[in-house]
């Protein structure tokens, strides 16, 4: 359930490295409880809302999150772009 880029990062980065990750929750998971559990796993939660929790993780924390059964997917941030056309 870890996105391939995050999975690669968790293998290659040092344990002290940190990056932003977005945790998608399975249907029925209560967001507040999920955010609390993610914090207890070591995630520094910066935002939580319907369906997902955003925060900072280290490689060991990311691997622990990936084992939680109520986690649907863990993704890295995706870059969007503005839609002005010059």
């Amino acid at each position: 359930m870890l996105a391939p880029e995050l999975e690669r990062w968790s293998r290659e980065a040092d344990d002290g490295d940190r990056r932003t990750a977005l945790v998608r929750l399975r249907g029925g998971t209560e967001v507040g409880e999920a955010a609390g559990r993610l914090a207890s796993l070591g995630m520094e939660v910066t935002s939580s809302g319907p369906g997902s929790v955003i925060g900072t993780v280290s490689p060991p924390v990311l691997r622990r999150i990936g084992q939680e059964t109520w986690v649907l997917a863990v993704e890295g941030p995706r870059t969007l772009r503005t839609l002005g056309h010059g």
């Binding site: 977005l22 319907p50 369906g51 995706r78 969007l80 772009r81 503005t82 056309h85």
Partner: protein, 595 residues
């Protein structure tokens, strides 16, 4: 050749003065019609730039010449010079040119429409607001989540100079880290910064978000006649500076906007998007929009500018036939390609380099003489579909990489691929017809109001005066406006609105203010700029939604979509039903608020 320095009349007044002194009949003289009339006028209104201390001398001359002052500013001594509007006999123009108190004289200039054009006959917003003077967006929170909002710009300040922004969120990734930080500044902090107090981050170094916010909700204070005011000039505002434009920054912006709104209705305007993902409403940002919206909570999203870019390809799996997508390496040397294969179809997938070597995916970073790539073939945990992602750097421009898919068994068989590069990319799949599916995410989310771009005018006022953009046919679709439907058949865009071209607020010191490419698009005031895109159409609709929510604060996204749909203007170009380019038709505010 040296330029003339012996006159202060502008060219049109000089020609009119020359005609007045000639014996030419009207029909043979360009100067006779130079003031924009069918017949030569005997008297014209001119703008005179006069030294304040010599205003009396100007008034005396005008009276003696048979003319007179039409208007002067209420406080002419507040600066060293003053603009006087005056009636002047055409026969006196030559004499006017020699007056020592005169710094400059200009003929009346026809002002081409800008936001007023977008608000005018094209959409009917002016008519709506003339009929319903209280329809200004008051009581509604409008958030622009983008590159920021220039909180110092006059269009986002009250008449007393205080900020109209209730909150300014700076979502950023500090240098040397990969951690997003969210810094929140309330109106008090912004007002202190405006008054020389503790500094807060610059509002909008990019300039894009300021332009969008101005279209939706600027109050037009940056111009004396407020002609560049936005659609909902009295709504409450929140600005988000997302730096970079990461989906996590946008998601947090949406969350904070709806939290800040409290019991009030709120609309979020997103003039951004991308093509890296499933295009089916299951990405994190689409999911956020689906879940966070509801009664009085609306998100409006730009459809995208890839309508004629060729960023999409599709094919059908047939057992015994190989399906291949050929991807071109653009100027940047960087390519991403995202291929979606339905759940249940069994396939083998390979990546083939330009020199013909085949690689299996999921083998990590691979260096080749043709470039370095990573190819992952995974089942997406959210929608359970099969996804090949291919990212390649250091490629040779115009080389062709090939994604080869061999079907083993087929249940569904419809495969879609999107490709791009830094800042988009063009003609990524050589030889592939451009056939829709260019709506970007998150406009693909069903509950988002997805907006395409309509050409609302082809003239604007630039630094050298009025400019015309050739080849633009007013009231037709912008060529760049992305086409639907989505990969799973959702009918997007919902509607098209003015996006080409729009004059709106220019963020001071921003890229837009300094980029030489936009030099010809800046308004003489220095406070506005003319640009285009579905980015511009989106806040226009967001402003309209703010007006709808002012009247009916509990409207749901589906109700907003339905009202836009049933009131949209349809013609021969749009057809009678939804179509992939125009959606349900052209925004018609008059019909919308009449209903």
């Amino acid at each position: 050749m040296e330029p003339r320095r012996d006159t202060v009349l502008d060219a049109r007044l000089r020609r009119a003065a020359a005609f007045a002194e000639s014996d030419l009949p009207v029909e043979e003289s360009l100067g006779a019609r130079t003031l924009g009339r069918e017949t030569a006028p005997r008297r014209t209104t001119v703008k005179l730039l006069v030294r304040s201390a010599e205003l009396g001398a100007a008034e005396q001359w005008l009276a003696a010449a048979g003319g007179g002052v039409v208007s002067v500013p209420p406080d002419p001594d507040s600066s060293g010079q003053v603009v006087v509007l005056a009636g002047v006999p055409v026969s006196a123009l030559s004499d006017l040119d020699g007056q020592p108190w005169l710094l400059r004289a200009e003929a009346p200039k026809e002002m081409f429409t800008r936001m007023d054009r977008a608000r005018g006959p094209v959409t009917g917003v002016d008519a709506v607001q003339a009929a319903h003077g209280d329809l200004t967006g008051a009581g509604v929170l409008l958030a622009v989540v983008d590159t920021g909002v220039d909180w110092s710009h006059p269009d986002f300040r009250h008449d007393d100079g205080t900020t109209r922004l209730e909150r300014f969120l700076h979502a950023h990734v500090p240098a040397g880290t990969e951690e997003s930080k969210f810094d929140v500044f309330d109106a008090g902090a912004i007002n202190k910064a405006l008054n020389g107090g503790p500094a807060i981050p610059t509002g909008d170094p990019g300039g894009h978000g300021t332009h969008c916010a101005s279209i939706a909700a600027g109050n037009g204070r940056g111009a004396t006649d407020r002609r560049f005011r936005g659609v909902a000039p009295e709504c409450s505002l929140m600005g988000v500076r997302a730096e970079p434009l990461l989906d996590v920054h946008i998601i947090e912006g949406i969350r904070q906007a709806f939290e800040l709104a409290g019991d009030r209705p709120a609309v979020v305007s997103l003039s951004l998007g991308g093509h890296f993902g499933a295009h089916d409403g299951t990405s994190a940002i689409e999911n956020e929009i689906a879940r966070a919206t509801g009664p009085g909570r609306i998100v409006v999203v730009a459809a995208g500018n890839e309508g004629d870019d060729g960023v999409h390809a599709q094919g059908r799996l047939v057992v015994g036939e190989e399906l291949k997508f050929t991807v071109r390496v653009p100027d940047t040397g960087l390519v991403f390609c995202d291929v979606w294969i339905p759940r249940g179809d069994q396939v083998d997938v390979f990546v083939e380099s330009p020199s013909g070597t085949r690689f299996e995916p999921n083998t990590g970073e691979t260096s080749t003489p043709d470039g370095t790539f990573v190819a992952d073939f995974v089942e997406n945990p959210v929608n359970r579909e099969q996804n090949l992602t291919f990212l390649m750097i250091n490629g040779t421009v115009d080389d062709r990489w090939t994604i080869r898919i061999t079907p083993l068994s087929v249940v569904h068989g419809e495969v879609h691929a999107w490709a791009g590069s830094v800042e988009g990319g063009r003609l990524m799949f050589p030889g592939t017809p451009v056939e829709g599916y260019s709506i970007g995410m998150p406009a693909t989310e069903e509950r988002a109001i997805a907006v395409g771009s309509l050409i609302s005018r082809n003239k604007f006022e630039g630094p050298q005066g009025d400019s015309t953009l050739p080849g633009l046919s007013v009231d037709s679709l912008s060529a760049f406006s992305s086409e639907g439907p989505t990969r799973i058949g959702v009918q997007k865009p919902d509607i098209v609105a003015p996006g080409q071209v729009v004059t709106a607020a220019l963020s001071a010191g921003s890229d837009m203010a300094t980029n030489p490419r936009l030099a010809g698009r800046r308004h003489p005031s220095g406070k506005y700029v003319t640009i285009q895109g579905t980015s511009m159409a989106t806040p226009f609709v967001a402003g309209i939604v703010a007006l709808m929510l002012q009247r009916e604060p509990r409207l749901t996204p589906e109700e907003v979509q339905q009202r836009l749909r049933i009131s949209a203007r349809r013609d021969a170009a749009t057809g009678p039903v939804w179509n992939a380019r125009y959606g349900w038709g052209k925004l018609d505010a008059e019909a919308l608020f009449r209903a």
